[in-house]
């Protein structure tokens, strides 16, 4: 495999200057305040916040806000820039900050670790917000070694939780998204993110929350409100309406603690890769994998990675095809073959004992063999970097390999995830892949995509990769993304999650009644609209 690309030239003072120049807000041209906030209000809010958390943890000038403004998403009008940030370290400080925000009508955009990578990072969905940065609240409050549960604060990273389990010899795994080392379970779960082990549907394995409501009251969900209960992290539902979902992809409260379940480390873990030769094979892959997944013979989500997505992780586009025109199947096949990949590469694992794995493997091999796929394991793939990457994720391991996608086109680093959902049926892939390629290629971008069978659902995960240092390309990426959302939505393929740049657009697709209901809830509990206005299209 070719690993000789030289990227040393990327560093240097000229490039540092370019990074600073990409930010439009500056001392002479500061980011705008929220419509409800005067300069005096903002000054008053900042002064009171300083008294609560200390000067060091309030960031209210343009330079100090720079790290909160970095995004990968297309933002040609530089709309997604906060006016400040404040970083509490305790629940009581969060309550005080919410009180101050209400007093001055200063909106707060809540982030946990602030690494919502291709969805807007820490940046707010509307102008004028201060980021409520919960990263300093980073305590692992409890891990129950018998139940396999954890209670954590929002600033805890997956790295931190894994280190804790390792250092204490606790026989549990975590389940990570692709950027586990710097992201964390609270933020990822609240945005309904997913991972790669049998515990990959993160919200399903969440249990109990502590939430600061917009009026400053502290709510504990589920059994958390029962004094003396031992079941806050053991029983999800509590009594009466189940409200935890209201605090995901929403702006109805600030989650300050969250419980989650940890997967017992299995005695045997055997990762697989299936290689298919043609782009058109994806439909039959879905048909083959669905019954295996629905029956839980395969217990983790099935990830089908296209050759282009895989190659983009560790290569530049020019390595795969010199011609800047649309990527051809011929180019992709050639590069894929040279790297031990197929046009579709499907990853899953078996988890259990020697006996259970030995019993299930022949059933799976027979089904996959009938689909024309090559079934590969560690014995055949060895240290192939793609196999290693997916093996790591499927055992809750940590890496940041997929950040490599950011240098596929140029050095500017542009990425927006587009993630429409359908039923897990093969025929869904035919229209989706065709439509995605048509739209992407119209704007000069590549179909770098994957499909995932979660359980009965099919997520189409498209990485819109562009060079953000080129303003014309950033503008095209913005237009392209909006067309993807619109035209997929017209066919019933709406997103399960989206970036701050398109929250209104996606919310519109879910219909007026849905929007009105969310807004009625918001107006009732947060009449000053101080918590994360714009999140999921809720003002």
């Amino acid at each position: 495999m070719s690993m000789d690309m030289n990227r040393r030239a990327m560093l240097g003072t000229a490039v540092v200057g370019a990074a600073a120049a990409t930010l439009v807000a500056c001392k002479e041209n500061p980011a705008p305040l929220a419509p409800s906030v005067t300069k005096a209000d903002f000054k008053g809010a900042v002064a009171e916040m300083r008294r609560v958390v200390g000067d060091e943890w309030v960031f209210a000038d343009t330079d100090a806000v720079i790290p909160y403004s970095k995004t990968y998403i297309p933002d040609p009008t530089h709309r997604y820039v906060p006016v400040g940030a404040v970083a509490p370290s305790t629940v009581e400080q969060v309550q005080e900050l919410v009180r101050i925000a209400n007093k001055y009508k200063q909106p707060l955009w809540t982030v946990s670790t602030g690494k919502n990578m291709g969805y807007g990072m820490a940046a707010p969905a509307t102008p004028g917000q201060m980021v409520l940065d919960l990263k300093r609240m980073n305590r692992i409050l409890e891990v129950d070694p018998e139940l396999g549960t954890a209670l954590v604060e929002p600033g805890v990273t997956y790295q931190q939780l894994k280190d804790y389990l390792d250092e204490n010899n606790l026989p549990y795994w975590i389940d990570v998204p692709t950027v586990g080392p710097i992201a964390g379970p609270v933020g990822n779960t609240l945005d309904r993110g997913v991972g790669y082990t049998p515990y990959g549907e993160h919200f399903m394995f969440q249990c109990g929350m502590e939430v600061i409501l917009p009026d400053g009251r502290l709510l504990r969900t589920g059994m958390g409100s029962i004094e003396g209960s031992t079941a806050w992290q053991a029983f999800k539902w509590g009594y009466g309406p189940y409200v935890d979902g209201l605090f995901t992809q929403s702006n109805f409260g600030v989650v300050t603690k969250m419980g989650l379940w940890l997967m017992p480390k299995p005695p045997v873990f055997k990762p697989f890769m299936i290689r298919h030769a043609e782009m058109s094979d994806v439909s039959k892959i879905v048909e083959t994998m669905r019954p295996l997944r629905v029956s839980s013979l395969i217990a983790n989500g099935n990830l089908m990675m296209s050759a282009a997505y895989q190659l983009a992780m560790f290569n530049r586009r020019s390595d795969v095809q010199a011609d800047p025109g649309p990527l051809t199947d011929e180019s992709l096949k050639k590069a894929a073959k040279a790297n031990g990949l197929g046009m579709w590469n499907t990853y899953f694992a078996l988890y259990g004992t020697d006996g259970t794995v030995a019993a299930v493997e022949p059933i799976i091999r027979a089904a996959i063999g009938a689909s024309g796929g090559e079934v590969l394991t560690e014995a055949e793939m060895g240290d192939n970097p793609w196999f290693h990457h997916h093996k790591t994720l499927m055992e809750g391991g940590l890496n940041l390999d997929e950040i490599g996608l950011l240098r596929w086109r140029g050095n500017g680093g542009g990425l927006a995830w587009f993630a429409p959902v359908a039923a897990a049926k093969g025929k869904e892939t035919e229209g989706q892949t065709k439509l995605a390629r048509e739209i992407l290629e119209k704007y000069g971008f590549d179909y770098t995509a994957a499909y995932v069978i979660g359980w009965r659902d099919l997520h189409h995960i498209i990485a819109l990769l562009f060079d953000k240092s080129d303003p014309a390309e950033e503008k095209k990426a913005d237009e392209c993304y909006r067309e993807l959302v619109k035209r997929f939505g017209e066919k019933g393929w709406a997103s399960y999650r989206t970036g701050v740049n398109t929250m209104d657009l996606v919310a519109e697709q879910y219909g007026q009644v849905n929007r009105d209901f969310n807004q009625q809830l918001k107006d009732a509990i947060d009449p000053n609209h101080i918590l994360s206005p714009g999140k999921s299209g809720i003002k």
């Binding site: 690993m3 000789d4 690309m5 030289n6 990227r7 040393r8 990327m10 560093l11 240097g12 003072t13 490039v15 540092v16 990074a19 600073a20 930010l23 060091e56 943890w57 960031f59 720079i66 790290p67 909160y68 403004s69 970095k70 990968y72 940030a85 970083a87 670790t113 602030g114 690494k115 990578m117 990072m121 820490a122 940065d133 990263k135 300093r136 980073n138 600033g155 990273t157 790295q159 931190q160 280190d163 080392p181 710097i182 560790f314 290569n315 970097p385 940590l398 890496n399 940041l400 390999d401 950040i403 490599g404 996608l405 950011l406 240098r407 050095n411 500017g412 680093g413 990425l415 240092s469």
Partner: protein, 84 residues
Amino acid sequence: MAVFNWGISNEANNWSGGCGYCHGKNVGPVIRGRALPADAIKTIVRHGQNGMPAFRPTEITNSELDKLAQWISASKADPKELGK
């Protein structure tokens, strides 16, 4: 507080638990052993260079970043690192 709030207390661990996930692993460029100026490293960390995310003072404080930048600047090259 430690770098990235992981309870990590020295620069070598900060490297392996943070920067080293990308730099030297074919994701970001190799930066050790190049005597890069510490001030440039600090600017890049706070701005997020190209495809690199920005890191906030809540993830790495200014004093921690000062030490880490000096450590990277003075580091020797590791021949095992890969930099595509």
